[in-house]
Symmetry: C2
Subunit: 514 residues, 2 copies
Amino acid sequence: MELIVELLNITTGGNRIAVVSEQTASQLGVQSSDRIKITYGDKTSIAIINIAEHFPSNRIGLFEETEGALGVKGDEVVDVALAPLPESLFNIRAKLRGERLREKDIVAIVKDVVERHLSTAEIAAFLTALNIYGLSTGETEALSRAMIMTGKTLNFGASPILDKHSVGGIPGDKTSMLVVPIVAAAGFTIPKTSSRAITSPAGTADRVETLCPVTLSINEIYETVKKTGGCLVWGGSLELAPADDLFIQVEYPLGIDPMLLPSILSKKKAIGATHVAIDIPTGMGAKIKTRQEAYTLASDFIDLGKRLGLNIQCALTFGDQPLGCGIGPALEAREALQTLMGGGPPDLREKAVSLSSMLFEMVGVENPRGMAQDMIDSGKAERKMREIIAAQGGNPAVKPEDLPVGPKSAVVRSKEAGKVLWLSTDDIVRIARMAGAPKEKGAGVLLHAKLGDYVRKDGVLIEVFAERSSKLSAALELANQLTPIVLSKKPEAKMVLDTIPEKPPHEKSFMLDR
Amino acid sequence: MELIVELLNITTGGNRIAVVSEQTASQLGVQSSDRIKITYGDKTSIAIINIAEHFPSNRIGLFEETEGALGVKGDEVVDVALAPLPESLFNIRAKLRGERLREKDIVAIVKDVVERHLSTAEIAAFLTALNIYGLSTGETEALSRAMIMTGKTLNFGASPILDKHSVGGIPGDKTSMLVVPIVAAAGFTIPKTSSRAITSPAGTADRVETLCPVTLSINEIYETVKKTGGCLVWGGSLELAPADDLFIQVEYPLGIDPMLLPSILSKKKAIGATHVAIDIPTGMGAKIKTRQEAYTLASDFIDLGKRLGLNIQCALTFGDQPLGCGIGPALEAREALQTLMGGGPPDLREKAVSLSSMLFEMVGVENPRGMAQDMIDSGKAERKMREIIAAQGGNPAVKPEDLPVGPKSAVVRSKEAGKVLWLSTDDIVRIARMAGAPKEKGAGVLLHAKLGDYVRKDGVLIEVFAERSSKLSAALELANQLTPIVLSKKPEAKMVLDTIPEKPPHEKSFMLDR
């Protein structure tokens, strides 16, 4: 039937949606969430139907995405007909029944996700089913390939291309900001793309952004890497495996992460990496809680890597507490810079040296650990970092103390004396986010005590930084409700960790950051 | 932060959604699908965030639902802050992990569904998890009670209140149009609410609407039932268990139906039913394929009924072919009327008599089957049906042939001679819907051959009716591609039913109609 276009002048955030009245929907024979085919001249577009109560029945409302696809103007006439459900939706239904999907089924789903032919409800159902049933090795490989195929890829020419990735989970992990300059200073190519925080107080892109711009075009990235051998950029705008970004958007409220492996490795493959070190922080405070889980994940990574032609080594790293002391974009960037300059917390330096030497070993360097240490001790890594900062458009002479933190801050003191028995990374994350991180770059938490440290009564446990006093108060209030750092004179005095009056509250932490 | 209201003047179909720019989202610290709390004077509303690329960053776009909740006008200023995720979302996450939900967890979810605090993606994930894990008896009961609690309930005073329901699945099942007048003619109360077709060619509401209005207010329903003892109305606008309607909307594209039991029984309980006969059509052509499935479903119905205080009996009925011959709203209403007048197809009469007598037996009638037959043979049921038609605002003198079918029609003939070996109800449904049913009430299919009938070469298999010649052609084309009726001289000549060159195509039929 013919309908007059009403431009709604608003985007849906990607989905192609068209609005019609109940009466028109009834005449078209469509239900809410059915698809229609809209024809305008020689252009056609599939849109998902949204039925509105008070909408003129001779009109069709188009959000900007559909307007753009058709190149239509307001008050023009389009032809509208019921469209069949996309083939990929039948593949999703098969997965809901527990069937195994073939490669072409998965390609159809990923293509329709990228082309916005599937609704968020349909994508949510697919991800839920994957989360519950798990993925076969073949499905994992097919998903990775389909996500690479539907996005852009980078090509830095020279082989090998090194990369480093953390599956995420412990706050304060700024290791990439050291590994990239160490590896590049040794003459290797390491084009690092990274993400912004979703559920954590800072992603690598958030940290680096306090030093220099991270939103670079593909050409600017090629330039930077040509000049310096490395880069530290935000991957979000590069359309590398764009399906993954859409999946993550839907996973986020659901608290599920069924595609960790294909999500990470499709992006590594898309930037042309040949050798990848994967960091798996393991422990009470990390996303991966037990060594057994970590070993399983590591062998899955290595297996999928082989299938995709990636040389992978995994490191199980200590994940019982935050890395270093600073948590929050600027606090972390300060600490990374200090460490490159020869200072900084010893755990951060040790981890950066270990992961860098793992990469050196993979490409055949003779004394890999020695080389990694030398890059820091000789000041080469620091100089390389300043080259990268300059190439990305920042100030290469920046000093750690130049990075603004706070300006509002306050300390939380201990009510008793004792040794640090454990740290709750969940609580620390919540306090740092309440203070404004990651959006407010100067906000965060500085730890004054870590595992095994002795704290006297009224000693400082943590220092909270915020850009606004209202956020500082909120974060301090939360810090007083929670117990981010637990002290004990002797372990046997604290055998009961918690008491449960009923089923425990639901707010489990969820980490979607990579 | 303070933002200026921009009214979008369009509904979302229920969800409370607010639009902000990327920059504003970043300042608020919200991701797409996070919630915000909007305050206007002394009113507040929670809305789900939709991030739009090109939106003025000092403004917030409100769809009509949120506009209505706040009572705000365009260009007024509202205060906006990040809101915590609703507690019910943590319950959904627990279900995604396979945890069993407590009654209060389920109440929280259902309330937030009705109050539109959960996105369709979140509801889809919940329903997918229920579909895969299944529901415990306690969860089924809690869901039913929560759905009743969050909707309206009817009270017809006099006990017993009888009802009849089919789990659906075979086309042409117009039994309710006979059971209601038979039971009401015997002096009992049977206020029947029913649905429109979703995936089938006609729902009871669609069929009855060819005789009289079915969209009645609650007061009009009370009037009709007081006058006649029965009614045949559309339940969709009565807000009985409204959560169920919202769940069905999300289930429809996913092809899943995890809440069949609570969905049906919550509506029975909401209209105050005390005795319910549940029809479970069982067979190749029905939703329930095997007797074992049917027996399990029946015992689940009886068990849930007990928990909800409903007296339930189930009937396993023959589901290998459509009931009667007419499929499509007007064709079916004709057949129902003919059967009440003493004619009609014998399978329809038999089924209506059996289900009515089951209800009579439940309330202690002495010769239940005799009473049901007598109601038809004496003409009392027909007169009662005409009373109901009049009370609902239709013409009580209507004759079957008055109901307009077609006007376009054509027959499909057999290419060979033989006995009907089987009928594909899926194919028949697709042809009837292609012809225009259920939206075009005169459209549908009339079967000229049923199981065991002999058809000569060039004999008529089916007759297709449509309101428009384009739809008639499309339906005939489909009928020629498909094989709705399979003939064979002797079964051993047709041992191979189909051959599979690869994994079979995905388009499995899905029946969401109740």
